[in-house]
Amino acid sequence: MEMIECKGVGFSYGALGVIESLDLTVEKDELLVCVGPSGCGKSTLLSLLGGHLPPTRGTIERRGQSRTIYQDGGLFPWLTVRENIALGNPKKVGEWLEITRLTEFADAYPHQLSGGMRQRVELARALAAETDILLMDEPFSALDYQTRRRMRRELVATLAERPRTVVFVTHDIEEAVQIGDRVVVLGMRPASIRRTLELPPGRSRAPAAPGVADAEQAIMEELGLA
């Protein structure tokens, strides 16, 4: 079932075209990754998909509610971890504190947590809400390398237990090919889809897994980095 369907979507800030005639569908429980050069409009695309911006051309159909997880700073700093998660779903706070191993930090404020822990709280808040679609805007890019890798594994494990439709935006090609079911490569602004790559089944792939290196190479070539 298609959870998101974009037909001929375009977006401009005045005369500045950001996204151009984009056609995209995201299937139920799929993890779709969008990669593209810096400033190409990846975050604008997520804002459009999340309904925070109306497209200036075309249509977007979304089946179900969405939550967006931001790079950093999406948590309310005046609320504790427990209160932030309760905004997602007050009945599931204890469960998600346990899943994200944050029980002992339940009464801490976001500024008292590490970057990785803050992202776990964001994830918990979004998943606790039991919405159908997760939009993730470079969620791990502010983290150090080791934490980023750990967070990727945790995301994949959590989605395996509680499947959701995910659109994951990143500039990290390695991340894209390791966790995505499908990778969409966006071109320079105004962004349009330059290529779509299907990845082998199974998420959390090793760099040497079949098809991963080829996909990484193909994306690099598409972005002019090879």
């Binding site: 999340g50 967006t68 931001y70 700073g73 999406g74 309310f76 700093p77 609320l79 905004l87 404020y109």
Partner: protein, 243 residues
């Protein structure tokens, strides 16, 4: 505490050595006697209560009206363009300049003094609230949209808590200004209050009483500042000072 004792010792020593010409700076023992007399007669307490009453009304009135106006100016472009230059215009005017109007509009008694204190703090709080609400990160509002917050919900759950640390700092500065202005405000059309105590003492060349009033004002100023400083320690406010 140590610096206070040091200042007192220097003051005492200079007075005892006759370094101050007669009638210019009272000796500490004269001020202490004046304090004792004013406390015993009950006048100091009455004047302090009168001043606190006026500051409380003027300051509270300013907070209640300035915060909503600041939120509107901070969050909406048209009111900002229309009103911000006027806020800056009136903010630049000394509250003293309003004294003639205060007397004409409000007559004698508490109202003109309360009006002056109100004016001294109102524009400051408007500006601080507007600046704080304009700088709330957009991402909070997007999260709020996802959570289904609208209208008053956005104001209560996002804007107000997000600006609270800056607002507390602004109120701390404003209460200091309000207390500072009380002396000027009580120079007009009232016969009570610590400002009036100072003016009355000056007219009677009672410099010991003038210093007595000054010390009381300064001490209460410190106490008020401590009260507002404690607000910054509330957990849902403290995040703004610890990040």
């Amino acid at each position: 505490m140590v610096t206070g004792l040091l200042i007192l010792a220097i003051w005492w020593g200079a007075s005892a050595a006759g370094l101050f010409p007669t009638g210019t700076v009272p000796a500490p023992d004269e001020v202490a006697r004046a304090f004792g007399h004013e406390i015993a007669s009950g006048r100091l307490l009455d004047d302090t209560i009168a001043s606190l009453f006026r500051v409380a009304w003027g300051f509270t009135g300013a907070v209640v009206t300035a915060v909503p106006l600041g939120l509107v100016i901070g969050r909406q472009a048209r009111p900002r363009a229309a009103l911000l230059p006027w806020v800056n215009f009136f903010r630049s005017l000394s509250p003293i300049a309003w004294i003639p109007f205060a007397i004409i509009w409000f007559g004698v008694g508490d109202p003109p003094a309360i009006f002056i204190i109100f004016l001294a703090t109102f524009f400051q709080i408007v500006l601080a609230t507007a600046a704080a609400s304009a700088s709330v990160p957009k991402v909070y509002y997007r999260v709020g949209e996802d959570l289904g917050l609208r209208g008053a919900g956005v104001l209560l759950h996002i804007t107000l808590p997000a600006i609270l640390p800056q607002l507390v700092t602004a109120l701390r500065v404003a209460i200091g200004v309000a207390w500072m202005v009380v002396v000027a405000a009580e120079m007009i059309a009232v016969r009570s209050g610590l400002g009036y105590l100072i003016v009355d003492a000056r007219n009677g060349l009672r410099m010991d009483l003038v210093v007595c009033g000054m010390i009381t004002i300064g001490t209460i100023g410190i106490a008020l500042d401590l009260v507002f400083a404690r607000l910054a320690r509330i957990p849902s406010v403290r995040w703004g000072f610890e990040r």
